[in-house]
Amino acid sequence: MTARAASVRRAAEALTIPIGALAAALALFGVFMAALQHNPLEVYALIYRGAFASAFSWQNTLARAAPLILTALCVALPAQAGLMVIGGEGALVLGGLAAAVTGRLLAGAPTGTVIPAMAAAGMLAGALWIMLAGTLRQYRGVNETISSLLLTYIAIALFNHLVEGPLRDPASLNKPSTAPIGEASMLGMLPGLDVHWGLAYGLVACLAAYVLVRHTTHGFAVRIVGGNAQAARLAGLPVNALVLVTCALGGAAAGLAGMVEVAAVHGSANASLIAGYGYAGILVAFIARQSPLAIVPVAVLVGGISASGGMLQRRLDLPDATVLVLQGLAFVVVLASETMYGRLNPFRSPRA
């Protein structure tokens, strides 16, 4: 048996099992809908129409996929070093706030400097926030899954305090917001598409993450740490530094997602920023099995499901949480499908 055949087999397995799991989740969701007296086929058709059937629905889907790609990286990058970080929502919220404040301070400066400065501010805020979880784990032994989620609640409280207090624009009456960054500083649309530049940011970030993880010595060292930190330490790798840098990169991606939401969608920082992209990003990263390249199609799929929520609400009078049920089901089934690896006959090597 050649090594090539084995790797083809592995790749086929890595594609088939998640797709099969998603199909199973859709089927279960259909059963759930049927139990509530809704025709599952009609529900599927509406999800497809809301997500992918027209240019308008594609725009909606891709605009949601952009932040999802970035928040999924906040899970997938630390996962390479063996950390399960689920605090992307906090990094997104603070990144968005930092970007909004920066954009306001630089209002009137040329767009060429405002947008990079906003992106840098958002990324810095997110990076520091997730690094905090990494630091607590490396130096104090605090479990990063719990601490990163606690940090999210703290970040949201801090955000609400600042947006409704010191940073509030007195002109925002009904919905407390920071002062608008101004039309001139907004992110434009991608040429030829009605989708904002955030999507390009996400694609570039995924590509960069892929190259970093798979094709650099830094990425190789991080994956050794993720495989066995004890061995990495014995081999002389700077484990703490590698973990912290990886956390910072993941946090920067989520912070950039916040900047994109502010600069392309809301125009200022307000409560609309707390939309659950951080949590949906966890789902994206797990379906993509923490692979930076696989994140892109999965984020489009999950973005499409959430884009179809409005259609389900209008046509079938279903609650807006319907898409959360489907996403939760998909998450559970995909994790359960982990057990199938190495157990399906067609993917087994002939020897085994």
Binding site: L136, T145, S147, L324, Q327
Partner: protein, 310 residues
């Protein structure tokens, strides 16, 4: 609740009353998580189970008119979700932390979906026992209005502390959690024990959720829980897996959680959101103080993935 007549003295009193009211859900969730973790698994999905229990309890109370049936139903919903976690984690190669995260999202999503019709209507809520009837001060009486579930939780903590030491099933759960190899050698069915422990933990978390919707705050909404289930997981680590310590820790967390509303009631409104973040900051500070990168925590079940150091 007005505290003007007592002035600033109303703050510690309100915090005490709040510690009991806000602490009760922590108590149930942490006792549930304590059982699960003693068996060697961690269920991070208790946050989702808590929300699901709150919704199920409210819905059933609304449909039947009996809040105690709601508590029972909430426990049932919790057992079902706990069983799901336990069975999935019994499959080879399935990670308990990841399934917990998924359950957190699934439980909240399902509760929001099924709970939509119950946001508006009023359901009968649980009665309270007045332990402060001797006092003429309405503030003292309000602080000492205690829900029977709180007393039940206290009794449960004592019962569990005794059972882990002195009963057969308590010893089996602890052995499975401390050394799977030893338990296997003794002929115990590890996966079955852990699955049942997770289901029991889910049931208690469901009851904790029903306290939220049926007593305090006493209504169902999507913003009902914000991390109480997760904080309870951290609380178990702080309590070193001792049921009685869970009781005191739950009171401490409850006090931290009621600081914001108590200060607001005496007119301190600046920094309202920051005071509301107090429980999360306290949880994090406690974890920083109790965890250590060098040694495994004293009292930690040996098979628990979350305390093993990388």
């Amino acid at each position: 609740m007005t505290l003007e007549s007592l002035g600033w003295w109303g703050v510690p009193l309100a915090v005490l009353g709040g510690a009991i009211r806000v602490g009760t859900p922590f108590l149930f969730v942490s006792l549930g998580e304590c059982i699960t973790e003693k068996s060697g698994r961690i269920n991070l999905g208790l946050e989702g189970i808590l929300v699901m229990g709150a919704m199920a309890g409210y819905g059933i109370s609304h449909a039947t008119g009996n809040p105690w049936l709601g508590v029972l139903g909430a426990a049932g919903a919790g057992v079902a979700l706990g069983l799901l976690h336990g069975l999935l984690c019994s499959l080879p190669r399935v990670n308990d932390i990841a399934v917990g995260i998924a359950l957190m999202l699934f439980g909240t999503g399902l509760a929001f979906f099924l709970g939509k019709p119950y946001v508006q209507p009023k359901a009968p809520t649980l009665p309270a026992i007045s332990l402060g009837a001797w006092s003429a001060s309405p503030q003292v009486r309000a602080a000492l209005e205690v829900n029977p579930l709180f007393l039940l939780g206290l009794a449960l903590a004592i019962l569990l502390a005794w059972a882990f030491r002195h009963t057969r099933w308590g010893l089996v759960v602890r052995m499975v959690g401390d050394s799977a190899d030893a338990a296997r050698a003794m002929g115990h069915r590890i996966r079955a024990v852990r699955t049942l422990a997770t289901a029991a933990g889910g049931g208690l978390a469901g009851i904790g959720g029903s306290f939220l919707s049926l007593y305090y705050p006493g209504s169902w909404s999507e913003g009902l829980s914000s991390g109480q289930g997760l904080m309870a997981v951290a609380l178990v680590i702080f309590a070193r897996w001792q049921p009685l310590s869970c009781f005191w820790a739950a009171l401490l967390f409850g006090g931290a959680g009621s600081l914001g509303p108590a200060l607001q009631s005496v007119g301190v409104t600046t920094g309202y959101y920051l005071f509301n973040a107090a429980p999360y900051v306290v949880t994090l500070a406690i974890m920083i103080a109790t965890c250590s990168p060098r040694r495994t925590l004293a009292g930690a079940p040996g098979e628990l993935s979350i305390t093993r150091n990388a």
